[in-house]
Amino acid sequence: MDAFRQAMHLLFTLDDELLQILGVTMRMSFFSTTISCLIGLPLGTLLGTHSFRGKAFLKKLLHTLMGLPPVVAGLLVYTLFTHYGPFGSLHLLFTVRVMVIAQCLLITPVVTGLCASYMEQSAAGILETARGMGLPAGRVLLLCLSESRTSLLSVVLSAFGRSIAEVGAVSIVGGNIQWKTRVMTTAIMLETNKGNFSFALALGCILLLIAFAVNIAASWIVKEVRYD
């Protein structure tokens, strides 16, 4: 209860550092979720609705990547963007941009895999009917995505949930630098290590409130229109 009270106090007193951490967290989660969905949703749709040689292998690879440990993804991105790495000249290490890249590596397989599973199981009827109507392939795909929007929203929210709650990769590539790359999860980890448990719990409460608010907003956006 103390933690919740402290969380409310931090929010309503508009603590500068908290607002900055919130801003970085939301920016990172928004961009990583958006980029992952832009790549993963069309890929998942294609994978779930088409048969081709090597599909079974691709699905196995995807399922493996869905379980990619965040620290491994972080380490991989760190190796690529470190000073002597292939992309070292871009000087992106310890910036929010590289945190977004690391998160995309983690989240895109999740979005693709979940979307493909949904399309395989539930979209068959939609596709059969739409193709039977002689609609062009692009229109069939759009119709399928539109009809599946409630289910696809769950996929997007899962991606956002993974992004906002992720700590391993962002702490490796972001460095948890105060006023620069510190996000909610790395701040919670830091406060816990310092023994500042109630402050860490307060931050946790705020993180949950954000996730709840995003869920409410997303449900409102795609709510069903009634025609009766």
Binding site: S51, G125, I126, E128, T129, A130, R131, G132, M133, G134, L135, R139, L143, S146, E147, E224, V225, R226, Y227, D228
Partner: protein, 203 residues
């Protein structure tokens, strides 16, 4: 003209369709009859391009329209469903829906329709399009006698207007007798009989 040569569909070791040869004249209406699992839907789905045959070839006139056994009701009203993918067909759609006695349901959600109503709606969605080959998988299976009559009458009107070939699967000899010029019976994926509807009705 539809031409099938050595068309086969297998799932593992199980052969669900094995048609050495079948041809259908342009503009003809053929009823596919047979028990459940005899291969009617498989044949229609292959011709519709929704299923790849294991072996064999076929040629079919384009464009092809296909009505699945269980059609999907898209989000939106009945009218919006009928107008999907069409341009400037609102008046035509309203008149079609009136003939199919769906006017009272125009503004209802398509998802609130009964099985028979949905089947008529799905049929209407095809009737506003151009077609050289119409494939119907048990188009009246959920309809009562009156609704089936409306649907078959509209089918005849569509055939006359577009001079398209029609292949429909059915369990009803009355449906076959009313619209088909020819009946093809399938049994375990093979053609077991081929003749006029009258020949089948007198068996």
């Amino acid at each position: 003209m539809i031409e099938l040569t050595n068309l086969k569909k297998q799932y593992g070791a199980r052969t669900v369709l094995d048609v050495p040869s079948l041809s259908v004249k342009a503009g003809a209406c053929v009823a596919l009859i047979g028990a459940n699992g005899s291969g009617k839907t498989t044949l229609l789905r292959i011709l519709a391009g929704q299923l790849k045959p294991t072996d064999g070839t076929f040629s079919a006139p384009q464009p092809v329209l296909y009505l699945p056994q269980r059609s999907y009701a898209f989000r939106g009203t009945v009218l919006q469903n009928v107008l999907i993918g069409t341009k400037n067909k609102r008046e035509e759609a309203l008149s079609l829906l009136e003939r199919m006695e769906l006017t009272p349901l125009l503004q209802k959600s398509a998802r609130s329709l009964s099985g028979g109503e949905l089947q008529r709606l799905a049929f209407c969605r095809l009737m506003l399009r151009e077609s050289a080959l119409l494939l119907l998988d048990e188009p009246t299976s959920a309809c009562d006698a009156h609704a089936a009559e409306l649907l078959l009458r509209e089918l005849q009107r569509f055939r006359a207007a577009q001079n398209c070939s029609v292949l429909l699967s059915t369990h009803s000899s009355a449906v076959a007798a009313q619209v088909a010029d020819r009946c093809v019976q399938l049994e375990n994926g093979r053609i077991s009989a081929d003749g006029t509807p009258q020949q089948f009705c007198t068996r």
